[in-house]
């Protein structure tokens, strides 16, 4: 069975010609469908850039990226938009909710994009957010906001969930509960989840752990026996 995500020889350079900064340097990576892949690395290592090029938010300078059989590196803006709409869900470190929309409306932003979205109320209930459905982001805790962001990413039945430092702005207990949510999503829906984090302690819950340093993958290991999220400690 082909990998859900396949990254081949991807380069990405920022900055001007006289002072270029190569953030991704010949990155190759495969991620199996239905797995949880953890990408760890220090600040500036290139892990977020890798996530962005996989999600079609950014374009690599060289190399190919294939998602679910589609080589997205050849896509124009229109097809890339279509790809993001159909295939990917994003969860950001700072939740990135639209502040003047309620929780339910924030989730509806993505539900509008597909023909057969999840039932928003059921999804919110599943994420223990039913009581918060008509509140605004400013009225929620950090954990609640992140769960709203997850609901938003999942509602369009995306097969790939890309999470950029999802616990970066959360305290320990809230982070634990959030990771449990992601684990449950992976198990129940079979969603492929890529989590970028600098917290190596989360590696225990992943099926695959990738370490990136100075734009190169220095470790790519499988974890045949991942731990339950609730058992993680850091």
């Amino acid at each position: 069975m082909p990998p859900h995500v396949s990254v081949r020889d991807v380069n990405r350079t920022f900055g001007q010609r006289e002072n270029p900064l190569r953030v991704l340097d010949g990155v190759c990576l495969d991620i199996e469908a239905g797995s949880i892949c953890l990408v760890v690395g220090a600040s500036g290592s290139g892990k977020s850039t890798l996530l962005n090029v996989i999600g079609g938010l950014d374009r690599p300078d060289a190399g190919t990226i294939t998602i679910g059989g589609h080589t997205i590196t050849g896509f124009d803006d229109r097809r890339l938009t279509r790809f993001r709409r159909d295939e990917v869900g994003f969860v950001f470190q700072f939740y990135n909710l639209i502040p003047n929309l309620t929780v339910r409306e924030n989730v509806a932003v993505c539900a509008q994009l597909v023909r057969d979205p999840h039932d928003i109320d059921a999804l919110l209930a599943d994420l223990d957010m039913a009581d918060q459905a008509h509140k605004f982001p400013a009225q929620l805790s950090g954990g609640q906001q992140q769960r709203c962001a997850i609901a938003r990413a999942l509602v369009k039945r995306s097969r790939l969930l890309l999470c950029d430092e999802p616990t970066g702005a959360l305290d320990y207990a809230t982070s634990g509960r959030l990771l449990a949510v992601l684990e449950r999503v992976n198990q129940r829906l079979g969603t492929t989840i890529v989590i970028v984090t600098h917290n190596a302690a989360l590696a225990g819950m992943a099926h695959q752990v990738v370490e990136i340093r100075d734009g190169r993958i220095v470790r790519d290991e499988a974890n045949p026996t991942p731990s339950a999220a609730a058992d993680l400690e850091w």
């Binding site: 962005n52 950014d58 790809f83 639209i98 409306e105 605004f136 400013a138």
Partner: protein, 792 residues
């Protein structure tokens, strides 16, 4: 450092700031243009009046004042100067020839010099320009050839139109020419009956009422009358000792009652006031747009400001940093606007008051105007921005460093069950309510100006059409001495009495006609002696309707009558109140009527039959006006004034021509303002929501879908502004328009026909379409990677 940051901010949002500068230049430029122009006009009028010694009034007589009569007038305490005129016709033009004034109503030369030899002439400046007459050119007048030695204007402006009731000046068709006294005498000797014996007077102790009463008491001296018909009549009357005394005074017009004199300064004053009101509105709008920018900038740079606070910068210093750019932009725009305003002032002044043939105006900058044009916008922007900055900077450094997402006033809105698209747009509208309100205000102002421009043109157009419909008589004659026994065949006879409308002020003609008469659009059959049916023009100009009182005073006397408006006609036929012929005749001096009756071809002068001992007005037979389809050959000695349909229509078309440039400028400026306000605010709101837009794109919303979600609300605002702005503007502009055209001798109601309303709506919608297209491009350029940079 603050200046460097401001410069970088300016460069990073160059298009936006340039649009703002353009908005300021447009606002200040138009206001300064009108203000500088009307001030120059006012000063020019006052200066010309003083240097030319504007007379306190003018009167005309049927025969020249004799020396004893002149001495008697002077003895009252009046300076009086003979100012006869002679109309010379030819090539479809009328040139009113005057001898060079000595002391009163002296001309101001635009170029050249005054006539010194009998073969020299000075021509009215607009007429000279229209005919392309320059120094040394030849001008033929009544068979004599004159050399043009100068061009200029007269301070009383009365001679900008051939007759007081002509709607507007037509410099190509009418003008005056000043010649030496000798040359004038030679011309008048050749055609003595065409001379109008005019006098200019200046009160030096006497009152206007006393002078008028004295002049009304003077009778025509048969020996002084040059009109042979009149002279013969008077001599016969004397010989038979007939109880007939013909008054010498023909017209008496104090300068304060002369609409052409007062309107020149009234127009300039009105223009100044309109400019002031428009200026406050436009600059207020500009101030608030700039304030919205400042608020936006503070929001965007909250973390920078928080950092500056944290580093120990004082609030005052930060305020100064953020106030600098809007003030610099406003100052630069206002300075450029002052320059532009002074450049366009001559054109704007020419449009509004040029038809008075004013002397050359001095458009040098007036420092109060310059100071106000700089201080008001900068002060306004400073005040509004200071308020916004204080509110924005009131937060603690921590709150600025870590801004918390706000629902932007959306929490009060419960939209459960609403379709997503609608709920999203409603929440966006609530979030950007301030900007949208500003946008609506800017659009309403633009619509007001557009309605003024388009409606003004439509009103004049509609008046031209009405005049073409209503002016069915091809030839209209006014006769001082009609032949009552031989009325012209197939002509419609009428009694015309020049009147003044008591209360609103202004001239109107009381016209007595026969029931069912052709060329008259109203039915007078059932009118009582004190009923009138007024033309639509009278109704529009003086604001009267059926059942309203209308008091008319004889134009050159003291008698007045309180009429009741019994009907209102369709309009286009001028300022006319219609009554039955016999009712109008009953208002005349019976002696005068009897005198005219005697002058008939079959009257007692011709037959030699003595007059009745007590002359009675020949009520039903009297007329002094004739409306005819074909030209009538009247004896010129009967004092005939002829107006053709073509003359009337040329006058109203000239009025339309005058309005075209004004309305074009206003419409262009208003449309540009709509585009600028729409464009600037839309760009700002898009800029403020770049992150959210990028986020939507990251989720997979297409450019087109995002465009609709974010920009559709503007369509609603634009549609709402049009729906509200059109009727409100129409309502507001009705009375404003009436005041603005008070100098025009016609009732032109302000109308906005449906097609023109559609044009205004289309102009706004086209402006919106342009902005929407540009904004759509702007929105498409928001990169999806924006989502990786900031958060809201």
């Amino acid at each position: 450092m603050g200046a460097r940051r401001s410069w970088r901010e300016f460069r990073s949002a160059l298009a936006r700031y340039l649009a703002l500068v353009a908005l300021v230049v447009l606002g200040v430029g138009i206001v300064v243009g009108f203000a500088a122009g009307s001030l120059a006009s006012l000063e020019g009028i006052v200066s010309a009046r003083e240097s030319g010694r504007l007379a306190d009034g003018e009167f005309t007589t049927l025969a020249p004042l004799s020396d004893p009569q002149t001495d008697a007038v002077v003895a009252l305490g009046v300076e009086v100067e003979s100012a006869p005129t002679l109309d010379v016709r030819g090539d479809g033009r009328v040139v009113r020839v005057l001898p060079l004034p000595v002391d009163l109503n002296r001309p101001t030369l635009a170029w050249g010099r005054l006539p010194e030899a009998s073969g020299e002439v000075v021509v009215e400046q607009l007429h000279a320009a229209a005919r392309g007459l320059g120094a040394g050119d030849r001008l033929a007048l009544a068979g004599r050839t004159f050399t043009v030695v100068g061009a200029g204007s007269l301070p009383h402006y009365s001679l900008s139109v051939p007759t007081p009731d002509a709607p507007v000046a037509d410099p190509a068709g009418f003008g005056w020419a000043l010649v030496t006294g000798t040359a004038f005498d030679a011309l008048s000797d050749a055609d003595p009956n065409a001379v109008v014996h005019g006098y200019a007077f200046r009160l030096e102790g006497a009152t206007e009422g006393r002078l008028r009463a004295h002049l009304q008491g003077l009778a025509v001296d048969p020996d002084a009358v040059r009109n042979p018909l009149l002279a013969r009549a008077l001599r016969h009357a004397e010989a038979w000792d007939a109880p007939i005394r013909y008054p010498l005074l023909a017209t008496f017009l104090p300068a304060t009652d002369n609409l052409r004199v007062t309107s020149a300064s009234d127009d300039a004053l009105i223009t100044t006031r309109v400019a002031a009101v428009a200026g406050v509105l436009m600059l207020g709008l500009v101030g608030f747009v700039l304030a919205a920018f400042s608020r936006d900038r503070i929001t965007r740079e909250g973390t920078v400001i928080g950092t500056l606070y944290a580093l120990g910068f004082s609030r005052a210093r930060v305020t100064r940093q953020y106030l600098g750019l809007p003030l610099a932009v406003t100052g630069a725009g206002a300075s450029a606007g002052v320059v532009v305003g002074h450049l366009i002032a001559p054109a704007l002044t020419g449009m509004s008051t040029g038809y008075y043939s004013q002397p050359a105006l001095d458009f040098a900058p007036r420092w109060p105007v310059v100071a106000a044009a700089l201080v008001v916008p900068v002060g306004l922007v400073a005040a509004v921005n200071l308020g916004v900055l204080r509110e924005g900077l009131r937060q603690t450094p921590l709150a600025l460093l870590r801004p918390q997402p706000s629902e932007g006033g959306a929490s009060g809105l419960r939209l459960r069950g609403w379709p997503f698209g609608l709920a999203f747009r409603v929440r966006q509208a609530v979030r950007a309510a301030g900007s949208l309100a500003l946008l609506a205000a800017g659009l309403m102002l633009s619509i007001l100006l557009l309605v003024f421009g388009v409606g003004g043109r439509a009103s004049v157009e509609s008046y031209v059409a009405a005049a073409e419909r209503a002016t069915t008589a091809h030839h209209t004659y006014a006769l001082q001495l009609p032949d009552l026994d031989r009325p012209p065949p197939d002509a419609h006879l009428a009694v015309a009495l020049p009147m003044r409308v008591v209360g609103p002020g202004g001239d109107a003609l009381l016209l007595g006609v026969d029931a069912g008469a052709r060329h008259v659009a109203v039915d007078v059959e059932h009118l009582g002696p004190l009923d009138v049916a007024v033309s639509g023009d009278v109704a529009a100009k003086f604001g009267v309707g059926v059942g309203d009182p209308l008091t008319l005073q004889e134009a050159h006397g003291d008698l007045s009558w309180a009429f009741t408006v019994a009907a209102v006609g369709p309009g286009g036929d001028g300022l006319v109140a219609y009554t039955r012929r016999e009712h109008a005749t009953a208002l005349l001096d019976p002696a005068q009527v009897a005198f005219i009756a005697a002058l008939g071809s079959d009257g007692w002068l011709a037959t030699g039959t003595p007059p009745p001992p007590r002359p009675q007005p020949a009520a039903s037979g009297f007329y002094n006006a004739v409306l005819a389809d074909a030209e009538v050959a009247f004896d010129p000695d009967r004092g005939v004034t002829h107006t053709s349909r073509a003359d009337v229509l040329a006058g109203v078309r000239q009025f339309r021509g005058l309005m075209d440039t004004t309305t074009g400028t206003i419409v262009g400026a208003a449309a540009l303002m709509a585009v600028l306000v729409l464009g600037v605010l839309t760009k700002m709101v898009i800029g403020r929501q770049r992150y959210a837009i990028a986020l939507m794109k990251a989720f997979g919303w297409s450019d087109r879908e995002v465009d609709r979600l974010y920009l559709d609300v503007y369509a609603v605002v634009v549609a709402g502004a049009v729906a509200v702005g059109l009727p409100v503007s129409h309502l507001v502009l009705g009375p404003v328009w009436r005041t603005m055209i008070s100098n025009v001798s016609a009732g032109v109601p302000f109308v906005l026909p449906v097609p023109d309303a559609v044009v205004v709506a289309a102009l706004v919608l086209v402006s919106y379409a342009v902005v929407r297209w540009a904004s759509g491009r702007n929105l498409r350029r928001v990169p999806v990677t924006e989502v990786l940079k900031f958060r809201e």
